[in-house]
Structures are given as structure tokens and as C-alpha cells.
């Protein structure tokens, strides 16, 4: 009796496997070179091109880019004067002048990385908040959908175009800062500095594309562009203003007394650390500080034993990266999660003209 059941199970299992295999083959059919793959890729390229053109011509983009560029230039000039002074007085090897350009300021203006951390989300939201909904409202979505392109190309093209625009902008700004530093200081950045700056820029692209994806998600979900823009801004405000407030209240409430045991204080410190880890902006801040300030050795609280015997010097690049690896993973995961949700919602939706 038992063996019979077992046999049937095996047979079923084989059947399922077989079906899966069929689906699997179907799934990749689109990508085999002989039929439609070149065809679709060409049209995907056309779509991305169009999206990028649209972004660059858009007044929204031009204005925001101007604001960010001006802000960065402003901080650059104020820090340059400052850095030149320190450079003149301090000639030691390990001062990372170029990193200072990104992190230090003379107090009149916030530094470069603060500006990127603050305006980056706004930039991401502004690129994505009407990505799908405006096409739907204009009635162009169903027109494009009637063409022989897979549906996901629409959302993929929006996403990719946004990322390309963001990358070009952020790399431009970073290299502009490096270039200005080069001209002003007269020495080239070291390889390590350069790599740190490039990695920082790549990770800030990830950070901005998180906000881009979040706003694309809202634009898929909400029909009105205004609603999706406001929800994007609301999330951003929540994480920059309200969430820290809430965290403060919780932390104040659970603060142990001065005479509490060490383990209690340790738990309290851990709580304080983990509560802010959900904030994308906090993740990004930690990434920034570890990458741009090589002397940062830990992001989470350390016990006295861990600190014992540590030499107060800067970390090599690999170690700094290792330090922020969890944060990087978290940020990437958040970005992908937003994209996944918008993708699924968009793929499942029925597209009618202006409906």
C-alpha cells in the first residue's frame, strides 16, 4: 500500500518537473537569438533613449540639477579655501585631502555629502513620481502597449533611464569636485582616495535610485501624479524628521539608570543602533562616513574589550567596505524590494486607455 502511494507520488513529481521544464523553456524562448530577442532589445534601447531625453529636457530635472550643482559648488569653494590652509600647515601623508573636500566644511555651508544625502532623495522622487501615472493619464500607455514589446520593458526602461540620468549627474558632480581640488591643490588624489570616491558615488547612486524606485512604485499605485509625489515626499519627511523623533522618544523612555549593569547598557546601546537602521537615510549616512572618513572604525557600539589595543589609525579601503557591507546590502535590498513591488503591480494590472 505504502509503496503504491509512493510510486504515485513519484509519478506526480516527475510530471510536475516536466511541466516546470516546459515553462522554463518558454520563459527563455524570448531570449533565444533566432526569434524576437534582437528585435525586442532594439526597441528597449529606443525606449530608454526616449526616457533619458524626456528627463533631460524636463524643467523639473534642469531646476533640481541646477540647485544641486550650485549647492555643491558653493560648498566646494568654501571647503577648498579651508583645505588649502590645512594642506599648507600639515604635510603628513595620511590626511586624505580629497576626501576632506567631500566631508569637511568651514561652517558657512553644509558639506558636499550632506547636500547629496539631503537633495538626492528629492531628486530621485522628482524623476520617478509620474513615471507610469502620467503616461496612463495622457493615454500613451495603451498606445505603447499595443506595440510588440513585452510589458515589463516599459517599467524597466523607466527605471534604467532614471538610473542612467542619476549616475551621470552624480559622477559629474564627484569628478567636478575632484577636478576642482586638483586645480586648487596641485596634487593628484591617491589611488585609494579615488577608489573611495568612486565607490561612494556608486553607493549614492544606489541610494538615490532607492528613492527613484519608491516614487515609481507610488506612480504605479496611484493614478494622480500629485498623490504619488506627495506620498514620496511624505515618506522622505517621515524618515528625515518624524522617525528620528519617534526613535528619540523610545530611547529616552528606555534609558537605563547610570548604575545599571553593563549588559543592560549594552542592550540599550544596541537598541539605539538598530532602531535607526531601518532608515534608508541613516544607512546612507553610515556608508558615507565609513567610506569618506577612513578613521571611522565601527558603526555600531563597541565594548571596552573590543576597543582595547586598537591603534588609532585609518582603515584600508577593503576594511572600510567590509564595515559598511551590511548597510550596503540593506540599501540594495530596499531598492530591489521597491522595484519588485512596482514591477509586480504593474505587470498584473489591466491597462485601459486613461482608465
Amino acid at each position: 500500500m505504502n509503496t503504491k502511494v509512493f510510486k504515485i507520488n513519484i509519478a506526480n513529481f516527475a510530471k510536475i518537473k516536466f511541466l516546470e521544464l516546459i515553462n522554463f523553456i518558454d520563459f527563455f524562448k524570448r531570449r533565444t537569438p533566432d526569434n524576437a530577442s534582437n528585435f525586442s532589445l532594439a526597441s528597449f534601447k529606443v525606449m530608454v533613449q526616449k526616457e533619458i531625453t524626456d528627463h533631460i529636457r524636463n524643467w523639473r530635472f534642469i531646476i533640481l540639477f541646477a540647485i544641486i550643482a550650485l549647492a555643491c559648488m558653493g560648498t566646494l569653494f568654501s571647503t577648498l579655501a579651508d583645505t588649502a590652509k590645512t594642506f599648507a600647515t600639515n604635510n603628513s601623508e595620511n590626511t586624505f585631502f580629497f576626501l576632506n573636500l567631500f566631508t569637511k566644511s568651514d561652517g558657512t555651508l553644509p558639506s558636499f555629502f550632506v547636500f547629496v544625502g539631503f537633495l538626492g532623495p528629492l531628486f530621485g522622487i522628482s524623476l520617478g513620481f509620474d513615471a507610469i501615472s502620467s503616461e496612463q493619464n495622457k493615454g500613451t500607455l495603451s498606445r505603447v502597449m499595443a506595440q510588440p514589446i513585452p510589458r515589463d520593458y516599459i517599467i524597466n526602461a523607466k527605471f534604467l533611464a532614471g538610473i542612467i540620468v542619476i549616475s551621470v549627474m552624480l559622477f559629474t558632480l564627484s569628478f567636478l569636485v575632484i577636478g576642482a581640488g586638483l586645480v586648487a591643490l596641485g596634487i593628484p588624489p591617491t589611488a585609494e582616495e579615488f577608489i573611495r570616491i568612486v565607490i561612494y558615488t556608486i553607493l549614492s547612486i544606489v541610494y538615490v535610485s532607492f528613492w527613484l524606485n519608491l516614487s515609481i512604485l507610488f506612480s504605479v499605485r496611484f493614478k494622480q501624479p500629485a498623490t504619488s509625489a506627495l506620498s514620496g515626499l511624505a515618506v522622505w519627511l517621515f524618515f528625515t524628521i518624524f522617525y528620528p523623533l519617534i526613535v528619540n522618544i523610545i530611547i529616552k523612555g528606555s534609558e537605563p539608570s547610570k548604575f545599571a549593569s553593563e549588559s543592560k547598557i549594552f542592550i540599550y546601546q544596541k537598541l539605539k543602533f538598530y532602531l535607526v537602521q531601518i532608515m534608508p537615510s541613516e544607512l546612507f549616512n553610515e556608508i558615507t562616513s565609513a567610506l569618506l572618513v577612513p578613521s571611522v572604525r565601527s558603526l555600531s557600539p563597541l565594548t571596552m574589550e573590543q576597543m582595547h589595543g586598537a591603534i588609532p589609525s585609518s582603515l584600508p579601503i577593503g576594511q572600510s567596505l567590509l564595515l559598511v557591507w551590511p548597510q550596503v546590502t540593506g540599501l540594495l535590498a530596499l531598492t530591489l524590494l521597491c522595484f519588485l513591488f512596482s514591477y509586480v503591480i504593474f505587470m498584473k494590472r489591466e491597462i485601459r486607455s486613461r482608465g
Binding site: R57, R143, V144, E350
Partner: protein, 318 residues
């Protein structure tokens, strides 16, 4: 080359609402088929399913011999679809809009430009090709929409309420354009509308679609027979009588008319008969009246148009 669109047993549900109910339909190559139905009848849903843009609950859809649910991309490369209330990228010119669609259909850029200009000339937009679409009038937009559909050189065109919001002259021109193009290039056209007269003007065959069901399908003249079980023909006859007392009185004539086979009802109203019958009896009728010594001043056959079919149906509904 046989059937271009073949639908059988097509069903689509939205929750508990049955949008399309067991629809079976086939359209031949080169035919202009009119899908006539009130708003919310499921016309647009059917069209979306034909293009594979929405999932089919049950039944099968074949367009140009390709299963639309399995390989919608192949279908979409052969079918031009003009959505209801189509939109364009307003800050692009007409030509740029057209070029974008051409590029999405993988037409190389040089060839796309050439055929775009060709088609713009056909639809009469060549002068406005470099103007931004936001300055286009409603009629121009609709014609640009048609150009959009034609640029991929489709085998089948599906037009969803294409004449909505056009003035009568615009409608006339638009319909003429469709008929001309269809006849010249042998394109199959599926034309959905709730306007009876437009459908009547252009379509070879009509399907009446109400509440997800195809009530009747066929040529307009056949439709009447399908829908009205009796008394399809109404004939109005005016008679004159110059010489008094020579003829039998009009009441007598009424009786005689009633004796003709298949006449159902005769009403007399001031020298004018209104005769309802199952078949066309105008021949016999005129002979009868003349033989009786009356003059025949006029005889009009009132055939049922779509209008009547439409109203008839809705009266039944109520």
C-alpha cells in the same frame, strides 16, 4: 486567406461581473466588421483580449492564426490597435510621435522616416508634421492615431470608438479614409462603436454586442431577420382616386390587401396605407392597387436600419 480573427467561447469576469460571456466570432480577411454595442457592453474588454493585453478567463482567441494569449507579441506586431481616446506625447511633434512607434516596431530609422512621411501624407497631416501634438485638433489627433496604426503595416486594424468626439464632417472623412485604406491594402478592420449610422456606412458585417453577449451577427439586412421574427417589412402606399364612385371604396381595398399572403396588418390613414408583412410584397401590392383602378402616387419600402434593430432590442430589454 481565411479567417483573420477567430474567437470561440471567450469569457472574461471581473469579480462576479461577467464582462464578456461566451463570445464566438470570426472575421474574414479584408472584411470591415462593426462591433456595435452600448457603453459598457464589453467591447473594449474583448478588444483587449484580442491583443493579449488582458487575461482570458476561458475560451480561445486567434488573431492571424496566432494564439493571442500565448504569444501576444507576435499578435501585436501584426495588429494595429487604436485605443479609445488615444494619447500622444504632447511635447513631441507628430512626426516624432510616429517615429517613436515605428522604432518600437523595430523599423530601421531611415525606412521609418520614409514610411512615416508617406503615411502622414495619406492621412493628410504632412503639413503639420513638425508641429507639436498639443497644437493638434481632435480630428488631427485621430488621424495621427490612424497613421500610428498603419505604420507597422498591419494585417488587422482594431479601432476602438475612433470617431468619438469628431464633428460630422470629420467622421465622414475619417470613415472614408478607413474604407479606402482597407479596400486598397486588403486590411481587415474591426471597428467598435456605439454609433449606428457610422457602422452602417462602412461595415460589411455587424455584430451587436450587449452585456457581454453577441446578440446577432451578419449583414445589416440579415440582422433584421435574425432579430425580428415577424413583420420585417413595412410598406407605405399612397393612392389617388380621380374618378369618384368608379372604384370600390378604400375599406374594400384594405380587405383585399389583407388577403395577400403574408400580410399581417393594414392600417388606412387618409388615402395612405401602412402595410406590415413578413415578405416583400410591393410587387403584388402595386398590381393590386392599379387593377382596382386606383392611381399609385407613391410606394415606399421601409427597411429596418440598425437604428430600429437597436431600439427594438432595448425595448425588449426593458
Amino acid at each position: 486567406m481565411g479567417k483573420r480573427i477567430e474567437v470561440s467561447g471567450l469569457t472574461k469576469k471581473y469579480g462576479s461581473h461577467l464582462a464578456v460571456d461566451d463570445l464566438t466570432l470570426s472575421i474574414e480577411k479584408g472584411e470591415i466588421f462593426g462591433l456595435l454595442g452600448p457603453n459598457g457592453a464589453g467591447k473594449s474588454t474583448t478588444i483587449l483580449m484580442l491583443l493579449g493585453l488582458t487575461e482570458v478567463d476561458s475560451g480561445s482567441v486567434k488573431v492571424c492564426g496566432i494564439d493571442a494569449t500565448r504569444s501576444p507579441l507576435d499578435v501585436k506586431s501584426k495588429v494595429g490597435y487604436l485605443p479609445e481616446d488615444v494619447g500622444f506625447y504632447n511635447d513631441y511633434s507628430g512626426l516624432q510621435n510616429l517615429m517613436y512607434i515605428a522604432r518600437l516596431n523595430n523599423i530601421p530609422i531611415k525606412q521609418a522616416r520614409k514610411s512615416a512621411l508617406d503615411i502622414l501624407e495619406k492621412v493628410g497631416l504632412l503639413d503639420a508634421k513638425d508641429k507639436k501634438v498639443e497644437s493638434y485638433s481632435r480630428g488631427m489627433r485621430q488621424r495621427l492615431g490612424l497613421a500610428d496604426v498603419l505604420i507597422k503595416e498591419p494585417e488587422v486594424i482594431i479601432l476602438d470608438e475612433p470617431t468619438l468626439g469628431l464633428d460630422p464632417e470629420g467622421v465622414r472623412k475619417f470613415l472614408q479614409l478607413i474604407v479606402r485604406l482597407s479596400r486598397k491594402q486588403g486590411i481587415t478592420v474591426l471597428f467598435s462603436s456605439h454609433h449606428l449610422h457610422q457602422i452602417q456606412q462602412v461595415c460589411d458585417r455587424v455584430g451587436i454586442f450587449v452585456k457581454g453577449k453577441l446578440l446577432a451577427e451578419g449583414k445589416i439586412s440579415d440582422l433584421a431577420e435574425q432579430l425580428f421574427t415577424k413583420n420585417t417589412f413595412t410598406i407605405e402606399v399612397g393612392v389617388t382616386s380621380d374618378q369618384t364612385n368608379l372604384n370600390p371604396p378604400l375599406e374594400e381595398v384594405t380587405k383585399k390587401i389583407k388577403q395577400i399572403k403574408s400580410v399581417a396588418n393594414v392600417t388606412l390613414n387618409n388615402n395612405c396605407f401602412l402595410i406590415e408583412s413578413k415578405h416583400d410584397i410591393s410587387d403584388e401590392l402595386s398590381k393590386l392597387i392599379v387593377n382596382l383602378g386606383y392611381g399609385l402616387s407613391y410606394l415606399t419600402k421601409k427597411e429596418y436600419g440598425l437604428d430600429d434593430i437597436y431600439h427594438q432590442y432595448f425595448q425588449e430589454e426593458k
